[in-house]
Amino acid sequence: MSVASLAGTGRFFRSELLLIFGRRRNWLGLAILAVVPVIIAVAAKVNAPGEDEGGFFGGITTNGLFVALAALSVELGFFLPLAISTIAGDAVAGEANQGTLRYLLTVPVHRTRLIAVKFAALVVFAATAVLTVVGTGMIAGLLLFGGGKMTLLSGTEIGFWGGLGRVAMVSGYAAVCLSALAAIGLFVSTLTEQPIGAGIAVLILYIVSQILDTIPQLSAIGPYLPTHYWFAFGDLLRDPVSFNSAGPGLLSAGIYTLIFTTAAWARFATKDVTS
């Protein structure tokens, strides 16, 4: 790749980020993501969970970092996938719908590069969404409850910075899982010119995958579902860190990402762009 085209890709990537982060509705979405941890922190302050309450919610009063984990475990169930589905569904279909895709392709942008940049921007958005949740959770939690030692799931206490490291690992894991959903969304987005339809389709895929995963009779297919390992981030909070489920989780997310980014690339290359 020549220097000129590299610079072109960089410019294109920046404009893509501007497209996502410049929109007021996306800011509103991030703001909604940020509200949940604040609600959790305030609720725990007003009405402290009992001593026998375990899990992340029980840990909040002893360490503010748990607000971030509690918020992430709540939002990973719906709000985060909703945000990713909407943005990913919009990626290609949105431009086709507004008629800007045609212009984008007349400025000679290679279609392969277009898909690559679109996906890279989605990964940045996924990471930003997770950081929004975790970041506000940490700030709200530390302000209201302070930091200190963190009790891991195995009952071991680690220091504050160690705890911060674990939260960072959990955030990374969640971002990888959401990026896989973004890849599926990108592919769906190349199939249609209706951004809202694409977004809803991805969200439905996510929900169906979650439902199938809870049916005991279908437990054989469970490990192949895209969302099966999403909550395996608990593995990263054990002592020592376990990769029993988190390992397959990363592998599963990687495979889904590879399949659907290449499928989006194949589909987009053969797509007739008429609008």
Partner: protein, 344 residues
């Protein structure tokens, strides 16, 4: 232009190729794990190997599956009582008789049993509770599981070998691979066809002679109703840090003595065994008011007969009957056999 579109259509080969490669790798790894080649050993040699095997320090991951035909237990997946149904993963560190740590991994929780010398800790992250028991330093590790299901292959094998008597057909199966290690298979089958148990299969490590997996099949079933086995095992001595447990600040820290003293009436309810071998039935007197709202209340169904009325749990491997007048019958037999014993 025609060839251009054709070339571009070829791009679909990439995602399809990824899917093909992934499924091929997954399929091959299953195929490749089926070919161990160990010198032949007879059933009695294997039994002796088992008896003489010294459990060296080890660590690993154990997967336990129960498909007893019972509904899943309410509650979190990391609670010990949830182990009677579904699939569970445990991590084990074994440093010797008096240094054991078992961790039951739930999705966002964990229960640990840690034995270190005379200290026994039970930790539950869901309940945010650490319970401490004192054990005499020389006693065998006892895991006070509410359901008393064997959790390590060694424990399970010991329990089964203890029950071995002339009622059992012992034979060898093929060679298998468990946790990537070649293993012998020993098959125990009850002679008495009235038992719900079809066979018990033990996979015995080809090198270390320790049990790597125990599977219990119910009659006429192709897949095990209960299975506990290593998924991954290492015979390196686990570090001392795994056996250190200090209850975290701010959790309930309960000395685990009181619940035994709490029920003085328990002593007179000594259980009895009726019959022998695989179809023996355990009978006991229970306090119906105390037991009924628990396990039976959630799993049992109403039943009645010449023996009276009560609740019965019927699973693929065992049945339990609790009559309303406080008698308990349990065994690896069909409920009809329990009714028979109850009406005597």
């Amino acid at each position: 232009m025609g060839s251009m579109t054709k070339n571009k259509a070829l791009r679909w080969a990439v995602p399809i190729g990824v899917v093909a490669v992934v499924s091929a790798v997954a399929g091959f790894s299953q195929l490749a794990s089926a070919q161990p080649d160990l010198p032949k050993r007879s059933a009695s040699q294997l039994l002796m190997d088992l008896e003489q095997a010294r459990l060296d320090p080890l660590s690993g991951t154990i997967v336990q599956r129960a498909d007893l035909g019972l509904p899943p237990m309410p509650g979190a997946s990391s609670e010990l009582s949830s182990m009677i149904s579904g699939t569970h993963t445990l991590r084990i560190w074994y440093g010797g008789q008096d240094k054991v740590r078992l961790a039951l991994l739930g999705t966002l929780g964990e229960s640990d049993v840690i034995r270190n010398g005379k200290d026994l800790w039970i930790w539950s992250s869901q309940q945010n509770k650490a319970t401490h028991y004192d054990v005499p330093a020389d006693s065998k590790p006892s895991f006070t599981d509410p359901k008393e299901l064997p959790k390590t292959p060694q424990e399970a094998a010991d329990a089964i070998l203890g029950a071995l008597d002339p009622t059992t057909v012992v034979s060898t199966g093929g060679q298998v691979k468990v946790a990537g290690r070649p293993a012998y298979e020993l098959i125990l089958a009850p002679r008495d066809r009235a038992s719900l148990v079809g066979s018990v299969r033990l996979a015995i490590d080809g090198d270390k002679h320790v049990p790597l997996r125990v599977q219990v099949f119910s009659k006429n079933a192709a897949s095990p109703a209960f299975e506990v086995g290593f998924q991954q095992i290492s015979f390196d001595k686990p570090g001392e840090e795994h056996f250190q447990f200090k209850p975290p600040a701010g959790v309930q820290n309960v000395p685990g003595k009181e619940d035994k003293e709490e029920e003085p009436g328990r002593r007179e309810l000594e259980p009895k065994i009726v019959g022998t071998g695989w179809t023996s039935v355990l009978t006991a007197k229970v306090d119906v008011k105390k037991e009924a709202p628990g396990l039976l209340g959630s799993l049992g169904t109403q039943a009645s007969g010449s023996w009276g009325t009560g609740r019965v749990i019927s699973s693929k491997l065992f049945s339990v009957l609790i009559t309303d007048d406080g008698r308990l019958f349990a065994g690896a037999v069909a409920p009809e056999k329990l009714y028979e014993v109850a009406s005597k």
